[in-house]
Amino acid sequence: MSFHVVNPTATEPQLAAFADPLALAYCKALSHALLHEPTARPHSDLIALGYWLRPANIERILSPYRDFGLRPLGHVFHAAPGNVDSLFVYSGILSVLCGNLNTIRLSDKAGGSAEVLCGLVQNLATNHPEVSGRFQIIRSNRDAAELIQLQKHIDGRVLWGSNEGIQALRQRPIPAHARELTFANKLSFAVISSKAVITAKPNELQQLAINFARDNLTFAQQACSSAKVIVWRGEKENTAQAKQLFWQALSTFLISDEGQSKYPLTESEHYRALNNAQDLVMAGIVSRVQTCGGYIRVAGKGLHQTLVNSHQGCGLFVEVAITELEELTSELTAEHQTMSYWGISEMEVSNWLRTCLIGIDRAVPIGKALDFNVVWDGIDLIRAFSRQL
């Protein structure tokens, strides 16, 4: 693969001020394209991105930063992850809004919705040459000479990906003053209150199943913020009953037409999940494989850091039971990212998190695990992409 720019422009790109009007117009145009383009419709991540890019939302994100006198960092290189096709737009666009010049390398594995996105971004190049020039998407080998050369002159580098991938990309020198942000592979988990499940009305349980599927089965459970472990919080008797109710609700949703069309796993993804489950059982990390149609359950003992690299998604859920959140505290590591929760109050979660000095970068209700937050892995991206006077 050679070095190929997806959206080339004839104009020489220039740095811009924070929340530059041209950049805002670009966001609006991209949002419009995503929400109206028929090819984008089947991709729920693109629809979500379309909503995120709407002027009102962008303004809501930017307004808290307007008074800080933020200035651009300069030229930022982003290595996009391959597991979440549209993620590169979120970090790339934030950096554009900070006024930076951006070069974004797409993963070789990026496909599906990334292809659709590239098409839309390409279409915008003619009418938005200035901003397109600041938002250059490239496809190339990781070791392409152009890419190595480019990195020698950047002011910031953003690396998303696996630990090995990040370490490999880090071998390329960048200027001494350049800033580097890394977003490595992390493990996320969901906490569900057993008691709340038992007392939930049928429609509440159904909504939980829908939200759970959205968080954890979009991108075939490969997103870092998708839960791999389900923690049941409650008394033993309640948990047994809650599990039954919850998984039944999830199965019902997944075999419905909506569930089938939104979260299709391929034959080989199903196979991979089963193989992964058997391998983890044989390794002694989890026990008891239960195949339930669209997903697989295994019993675990804790938040197991080893799962960060050994769990491959595709609808495999490790179940753990606790009676109090405090039981998780000692198991948290820097590799635990998103905690999604249901049936537990925000107050209780934040009170507990205040006592945790290690691990967990964000806590969100189930259904919001995939939402993009400006603060990601504990880093305020707008500040990280800017210099404060």
Binding site: R142, S268, Y271, Q278
Partner: protein, 362 residues
């Protein structure tokens, strides 16, 4: 009714007699491996191991033999290790045989093949190069296949040179000596096609063997890419080599004893010692005959390692049982190719390595 399936003829036992014996044997194997292989024990958990039907038997996914060392014998009892050829860059499967399992494997192989070759050891023409069996400590699937079938033949002649070019003098000498009597030819499907039949055609050679059997195996994937059907393969083989009966067989290094040979009707047949089930991906429930799904293979042979019930990565369909037009008893089926692979996405994204195996450091 045979008391022991391993003693039975390969295609002579009808379902009513076979199923209970097979179930009993496989159940005993499950119990055996539960006691002798820790990883297998972990997978079965506290399961009592009383299965009422074949479909209840637990099964292992085939990549496990790449991911971990699975055996039910001590290191000292390892007699030989079979490895899968695997594509470049992937870890091969490792299958551990003790002397007993290896002996059983040879015995069953002979029984099955005699059905297609007759009891005489025939002059054997191998459509491969001699260096494929040179490394005897670690048998590649190709090497092991050739090695395994070699003792069904005599006067072994390799039709290809080490660089995979045709060894015309060797083929001519073999033909001159045995061309008018029964001969046995063996090779891997793609090798026979590409370096054998195609090369003969390109170089304008033809041989008119009077009575040959060509047995070949190894999957159709590469041939399908070149749009070569079983029919084209067979027709071309006859055009290039003369009076020839062609039999494809399906099998895998991970399950010794499972050799499913295609009959005159083109149907793959289960021998008395093995069986197949078809499962629906996802639910993994057994499918009715005629429904396509993922093939599960069962064999009475694997005693030194827990490979008696495996979920393959191949798709297939059962065509019938005990009633094939060829007259052989047992289940018969067809293979519909590999499941379509998806890219391992994970977070191993910005890195260009193709790591999909658990925990394998790149």
């Amino acid at each position: 009714m045979p008391a022991n399936l391993l003693e039975a003829s390969p295609y002579g036992v009808p379902m009513a007699e076979k199923t209970p014996l097979l179930l009993e044997g496989l159940q005993a194997l499950s119990k055996h491996h539960q006691h002798h292989c820790l990883a297998y024990q972990r997978l079965l958990g506290s399961e009592a191991g009383l299965y009422k039907q074949l479909s209840e038997l637990p099964f292992l996914t085939v990549p496990l033999f790449k991911q971990r060392q699975l055996k039910s014998i001590s290191e000292g009892d390892v007699f030989k290790v079979l490895t899968s050829s695997g594509t470049t860059g992937t870890v091969p499967s490792r299958i551990y045989l003790d002397a007993e399992t290896a002996k059983l494997q040879s015995r069953v192989l002979v029984k099955i093949m005699q059905e297609w070759l007759g009891k005489q050891r025939l002059p054997m023409l191998i459509w491969d190069s001699p260096n494929v069996i040179q490394n005897r400590t670690s048998f590649s699937a190709r090497g092991a296949g050739i090695q395994g079938l070699s003792f069904l033949g005599r006067y072994h002649t390799y039709a290809l040179n080490d660089d995979m070019s045709l060894n015309i003098p060797a083929i001519e000498a073999f033909f001159e000596r045995f061309g008018s009597e029964p001969v046995f030819m063996f090779g891997f499907t793609f090798m026979v096609w590409k370096f054998g039949l195609q090369a003969l055609k390109d170089q304008g050679f033809r041989f008119n063997f009077q009575n040959a059997v060509l047995i070949h195996s190894g999957g159709w994937k590469k041939l399908e890419d070149e749009a070569v059907s079983a029919n084209t393969f067979n027709t071309t083989a006859k055009a290039m080599l003369g009076q020839l009966r062609v039999h494809n067989f399906y099998g895998m290094v991970e399950q010794v004893g499972s050799i499913f040979v295609a009959c005159e009707e083109g149907h793959l047949h289960c021998p008395s010692y093995a069986d197949v089930l078809v499962r629906e991906p996802g639910s993994w429930q057994v499918q009715a005959h005629g429904q396509a799904g993922v093939l599960q293979v069962l064999s009475l042979l694997p005693r030194s390692y827990p490979g008696h019930s495996l979920l393959t990565e191949d798709r297939g369909r059962i065509l019938g049982e005990d009633n094939c037009a060829c007259g052989r008893k047992g289940k018969y089926f067809e293979v519909l190719g590999r499941m379509a692979k998806v890219e391992a996405r994970g977070c191993s994204d910005t890195f260009d390595g193709s790591g999909s195996t658990t925990g394998a450091a790149e």
